[in-house]
């Protein structure tokens, strides 16, 4: 068995992700939003300086949140607080760990600090979540020590299409692995660019060795439901909530819909009277360099 996925440290890291299952993690930029999120039933909040749709609009370099904002949010709520650092920026991650955040998101939403290497996440006591578009990418991040995987989707787009693509890709690649003979797995590891031990684990168990959540473009309760049906175990909602016309109502509704994703009557009921969701972008109108999901490898 791969050392990455057993052992005390990893059990504590994935253990917290287990506790967040079936829940909604919301992006917040200040204390007030964090309190709204907690009251609406969020299982955790993601502290950041600007939500992805604003990062997209305003441009410039997107960095880790100022520590005082992270602390303000940590002091405002009793649920876990996550925060983002740039891909490869282990110094930002060290700052976040010292602040005591509960999870670090090494995120493509921020401007990458290293175009070649991701952070060696084994070095940290604080668990990491990383984005992935496919199985190879997910297993590379887990190999580096990520304790939770989320789809990248296309953050700040309000469009679920990329998250759906990533969830489906992950699911069908995992399914395929389970059909292969043991002698085929080394070649598969080469093709995926993933550690053999993790490829063998997935082939045997038919799932990722760490919890798998969805992110990137979730804007309505039905979007969250779709992600859950496609294998997500929880959902991250970024710009969707606080860029809608009635954030409190929408936050409540996405939480209720995620819990009852298999009950369309309840989803219908909680989807009523929510006002306008965020406007959203057509993915095909985005230029290659505007796609956040292309960041990282």
């Amino acid at each position: 068995m791969a050392n990455h996925i057993v052992g005390t440290e990893m059990k504590l890291k994935t253990g917290l992700a287990e506790m967040l299952k079936g829940g909604v993690i919301m992006d917040v930029v200040n204390r007030e939003q964090a309190i709204i999120a907690e009251k609406a039933g969020a299982v955790a909040v993601m502290a950041l300086e600007r939500v992805p749709s604003d990062i997209r609009k305003e441009g410039g370099v997107a960095r880790m949140s100022p520590p005082e904002i992270v602390e303000e949010i940590m002091n405002a709520v009793s649920i876990p607080v996550m925060a983002k650092c740039r891909i490869g920026h282990f110094a930002e991650a060290m700052v976040l760990e010292s602040l005591g955040v509960d999870y670090i998101d090494e995120s493509e939403v921020l401007t990458p600090a290293d175009e070649q290497y991701h952070i060696d996440k084994m070095d940290f006591k604080t668990p990491f979540v990383c984005g992935a578009r496919n199985l190879g990418e997910a297993l590379r991040r887990i190999g580096e020590g990520a304790a939770m995987i989320r789809t990248k989707g296309e953050a700040g787009s309000g469009n679920i299409v990329e998250a759906v693509r990533h969830l489906r890709t992950l699911r069908s690649q995992i399914r395929r692995l389970t059909t292969l003979g043991s002698e085929e797995l080394m070649n598969e590891a080469k093709e995926l660019g993933a550690p053999l031990a993790l490829v063998q684990w997935v082939a045997r168990e038919g799932k990722l060795p760490v919890p798998n959540f969805a992110a990137g473009g979730i804007a309505t309760p039905a979007d969250a439901v779709l992600a859950m049906y496609l294998g997500a175990e929880s959902v991250f909602v970024g710009s969707g909530i606080f860029k809608s016309s009635s954030p409190e109502k929408l936050a409540h509704a996405i939480v209720q819909a995620t819990t009852h994703y298999q009950n369309p009557k309840i989803v219908a009921e909680c989807s009523k009277g929510l006002g306008a969701p965020m406007r959203g972008l057509d993915i095909h109108q985005l230029k290659a360099e505007e796609r956040l999901s292309e960041r990282g490898w």
């Binding site: 287990e18 506790m19 829940g23 649920i79 876990p80 760990e97 668990p127």
Partner: protein, 193 residues
């Protein structure tokens, strides 16, 4: 016999796997009428604030509060917070089933989560003579700060109770569902039979 697992949010699946291993049928509880078909209920780990919110939103708060007063119940971590009659840090509502005071996130945040072996009390020793120590996985765990004299201590860690029992009702601040042993699940099932 069917055992329910409250499935509004949290670590539901690891409990399902344990019960399956012990050949007991489990059911995910999301609606009040489901309480009528189960012999006992597990309130799993997760976020207690989220669970309270969803219990109320789904008309489960009242029926569950009534259920846990008399029927076999086991609360884990967030579940133990729901069962306490007093909650601090911050204070919040509860189902009021056990005379204990529980402090949330009492050891600190995730960086202070830990795994350690537990010390068995008399209650546990009469159930199991297995000498292998029980491992406690504590994740942003609460602490039982006060307990009444009618509460039995099942396990301790550093001279503090981490699993307690009164009649039909169990509360643990650690996560047996995340370990390889299913002994504590077996123990809970003896209360359900």
């Amino acid at each position: 016999m069917k055992v329910g697992i409250l499935a509004l949010q949290g670590a539901v699946q690891p409990h399902e796997e344990k019960l399956k291993e012990l050949r007991v049928e489990s059911v995910q509880v999301r609606y009040p009428e489901q309480l009528k078909e189960i012999r006992g209920i597990i309130l799993p780990g997760g976020e207690s604030t989220t669970m309270i919110h969803l219990l109320k939103l789904n008309q489960l708060w009242g029926p569950l509060k009534e259920f846990v007063q008399t029927q076999p119940t086991w609360g884990i971590c967030a579940g133990s917070i729901l069962l306490a009659n007093e909650v601090t840090h911050p204070s919040q509502e509860s189902l009021n089933a056990l005379e204990i005071t529980v402090e949330r996130n009492s050891y600190g945040r995730q960086n202070e989560s830990f795994i350690d072996t537990l010390v068995a009390g008399e209650t546990w020793k009469t159930f199991s003579s297995d000498p292998k120590p029980i491992e406690g996985v504590f994740i942003r765990a609460p602490r039982i700060k006060k307990w009444s004299s009618n509460i039995q201590v099942v396990f301790e860690h550093r001279n503090e109770p981490v699993m307690v029992k009164k009649n039909h009702c169990l509360a643990s601040t650690f996560h047996p569902e995340l370990t390889d042993s299913s002994l504590i699940h077996k123990y809970f099932l003896t209360l359900c039979r």
